[in-house]
């Protein structure tokens, strides 16, 4: 009964991800204990979304997405704190450019190998960025992290919009997330998106069909880095610090966990995963010091018994693909 009533709604939601994400996240800050938690979910959801493009839709498991997250964060942070650029737009552009260039270079080399070799290469490259940031203390702040990022107002059509309140910043971030989701939707719906799926399902056959598999993978890799870089850039603005741990390999694990928890290869999965992980962490850590054990068990349970993740299982249960 409920299932029959719910199925068309969920079907519609899954079919209109952009409108659905905007509608849901417009109300989201009022559903969680405090606004900054909502922003954190949004930003990490975007991080996982970028990862999911590569893993869920192209079938490439990257263990080095901390690199583009960190490049986006440092690009924006350095623009504001060191170069003293007075524009939020320019600062975000610099973060995105850093992530895209980083993604293009790393992708160019890593995509020459497959499977575990690919994953290890991405990991190694991200560690190179980590050590570079660790030792270039004059530019990056070294292990104390990059500080002194001012909280600029957003210049919009001649007006200066303050982002100082947590809610204002949240909707600022949501606008970017909506843009990224719309862009991703457009890409996945295009013939190019179909080629991505073909590569995920059978790369050899896609190649036999005449597609330049490596080039398609590289474009997907760079686009993934762009979305991840945007998330990193927003995180730098959100915290007004960039910890050097942003580039550390353990940060690369976060989107992997969130994506698998929420459901790889689905539009909402990364956001569902990020929300579950972060809200659980936030609330559990108030009561128990070993909350990571609980989250770890939940994660294992999903991977073992519900490999399609929370959202994937939900869709499957309702017969929606």
């Amino acid at each position: 009964m409920i299932r029959r009533a719910l199925a068309p709604v969920v079907h519609w939601v899954a079919g209109h991800p952009v409108i659905s994400i905007i509608a849901f996240f417009a109300a989201f800050p009022f559903l969680v204990p405090y606004k900054s938690l909502a922003t954190q979910v949004l930003v990490y959801g975007l991080f996982a979304l970028g990862f999911n493009l590569l893993y869920g839709y192209t079938g490439l498991l990257s263990f080095g997405h901390a690199a583009y997250w960190g490049l986006g964060a440092y690009g924006t942070g350095i623009a504001l704190a060191k170069l003293k650029l007075g524009s939020l737009w320019l600062a975000i552009a610099m973060g995105l450019a850093s992530a895209v260039i980083g993604g293009a270079v790393v992708g160019f080399f890593c995509l020459r190998r497959r499977g575990i070799y690919f994953a290890m290469l991405t990991l190694a490259f991200s560690q190179v960025f980590y050590f570079a940031a660790f030792h270039l203390a004059d530019i990056t702040g070294g292990d104390d992290g990059l500080r002194g990022i001012p909280q600029l107002a957003l210049g919009l059509f001649g007006y200066q919009v303050s982002l100082a309140s947590p809610l204002a910043f949240y909707y600022f971030a949501l606008a970017w997330v909506a843009l990224a989701v719309a862009g991703l939707k457009r890409v996945l719906d295009s013939p190019f998106g179909a080629v991505l799926l073909a590569i995920r399902e059978n790369s050899d056959r896609a190649s036999a069909c005449g597609y330049d598999v490596n080039r398609v993978k590289l474009v997907s890799f760079v686009f993934s880095a762009l979305i991840t870089g945007l998330a990193g850039s927003l995180d730098a603005l959100r915290l007004t610090v960039v910890p050097v741990e942003s580039l550390y390999w353990s940060t690369s694990g976060q989107p992997v966990i969130m994506t698998l928890l929420g459901g790889a290869g689905t539009f909402f999965g990364p956001f569902v995963g990020a929300a579950t992980f972060l809200v659980l962490a936030d609330r559990l850590s108030l009561f128990i010091e070993w909350w990571q054990l609980v989250v770890g068990l939940v994660f294992m349970a999903f991977v073992l018994f519900l490999p399609r993740g929370i959202w994937g299982t939900f869709l499957g249960g309702l017969g929606v693909r």
Binding site: P33, Y34, K35, S36, L37, Q40, F134, A137, G142, D143, D144, G145, R147, G148, I149, Q151, A164, P166, D235, L239, T240, V241, P243, V244, E245, S246, D282, S285, L286, E289, W290, Q292
Partner: protein, 403 residues
């Protein structure tokens, strides 16, 4: 039927009852202080000590009726020794718990992330662990206070004392990150200024305490003093290797800081006959009246004497309360002004004071030496000297970027 008068009386009465808790709440609501610290992670043992100090301060304050007649409530949050988590936790404390002040932090990089959030929210942040940057421009804001010692003060105090009293020829082993590098720079400088020489220095990657390739070279150079700027768990590995290579018998080992809890974990032999600085050692109760009071209350509550960082936690909370009472307000700006205008305090040891320009606390430091025989359950060290608080031991406010 209810007549009009009964209805009115009843309604007014009900409204009054419903309004009352709001009034009571406003007057009786506790003053909340947020306290982020790494309850999990490699420095959880220091964080546990900081937390105990803050808990004791809360008890002591509330037993006397709190501050301005309101209870003081300290909310602890685990920052996992990660800056991003520390920042998020601080946001939660400010937004969700409406804390008026932030005290806490361990490790320089996490302090920075906490400090940025407190600065944005215009709340006082009293940092209670070591960092040179936290009290210097551009990191320090007008409401950033620093209660702990810092690497410069520690290095200059311990270094100058050890050159005069332990030996002139030095070798420095340091962890290759901000704190280690600062120690290397400060100690090298102070040793040379006091007529000593630094024969060499060895950086090693933090968290990878493998010294066996370095130790023969150090032994061949025959230094009289070996400074080990080796933190936490690395220190344990360092001492084991130094003992097995025979270095400890040949050279006097000096640490920037000694900890009772670390000595207890590793065992008394490891730190026996080695020197170190400390902001507090519990046996000071024999000579300092405030310390006696503090150590007794602490031991009564926790069934063990305090280590050094609990003093910072205790004093940090006490200073917030003192500032509130002086300012007759919980407004951070008012409290900061009140503290800087009445800078002297002594909550748990000898007199301390705030320097107005950089809001840095100045305090005595003690040199302790590891005992060969444990005295009681917790008597790991002998107090060998006191280095009196002196603003000249820190960088000047000009050097720290204050005009």
């Amino acid at each position: 039927m209810i007549d009009r008068r009964t209805f009115l009386t009843g309604t007014i009465g009900a409204a009054a009852v419903m309004a009352c808790p709001a009034v009571l709440r406003a007057q009786g609501s506790p003053i909340r202080i947020g306290f982020p610290l790494p309850l999990t992670g490699p420095f959880d043992w220091i964080a546990a000590d900081q937390q105990k100090g803050a808990q004791l301060a809360m008890d002591v304050l509330n037993a006397k009726g709190g501050a301005l007649g309101r209870k003081v409530e300290v909310l602890f949050r685990d920052d996992e020794l990660k800056p991003a988590v520390g920042a998020q936790r601080t946001k939660e404390l400010i937004e969700n718990q409406n804390v008026e002040f932030i005290v806490g932090g361990l490790a320089a990089h996490v302090q920075m992330a906490i400090n940025e959030q407190a600065k944005k929210a215009n709340k006082i942040f009293i940092s209670i662990s070591q960092s040179d940057e936290i009290s210097a421009k551009p990191d320090s804001g007008p409401l950033t206070f620093h209660e702990a010692l810092n690497p410069t003060i520690t290095g200059r105090s311990v270094g100058a004392w050890a050159v005069k009293n332990v030996g002139k020829k030095w070798w420095i082993v340091y962890a290759d990150y901000a704190w280690g590098k600062q120690n290397n720079a400060v100690f090298t400088d102070v040793v040379q200024k006091n007529g000593g020489t630094v024969l060499g220095s060895t950086p090693y990657p933090l968290g990878k305490p493998e010294f066996s390739t370095h130790l023969p070279k150090i032994q061949a150079a025959r230094p009289e003093v070996l400074l080990a700027a080796v933190p936490g768990n690395d220190a344990v590995a360092f001492m084991k290797q130094a003992i097995s290579f025979g270095l400890k018998q040949q050279t006097k080992i000096v640490w920037p800081l000694h900890f009772v809890d670390l000595a207890k974990t590793v065992g008394i032999d490891a730190f026996a006959d080695t020197y170190g600085g400390t902001s507090f050692y519990w046996e000071l109760q024999d000579s300092v009246p405030e310390a006696k009071h503090y150590v007794e209350a602490f031991t009564k509550k926790f069934n063990r004497p305090p280590d050094s960082y609990s003093g910072y936690g205790y004093s940090g909370i006490m200073e917030v309360a003192r500032g509130i009472e002086l300012a007759k307000s919980t407004n951070s700006d008012a409290v900061a002004t009140a503290l800087l205008n009445n800078p002297s305090y002594a909550h748990y040891k000898t007199k301390q004071w705030w320097r107005k320009c950089d809001r840095k606390a100045f305090q005595d430091l003690w040199i302790v030496k590891g005992r060969q025989q444990l005295k009681g359950e917790w008597g790991y060290f002998d107090v060998v000297s006191k280095v009196a608080a002196d603003e000249a031991l820190d960088r000047t406010c000009g050097e720290k970027g204050y005009a």
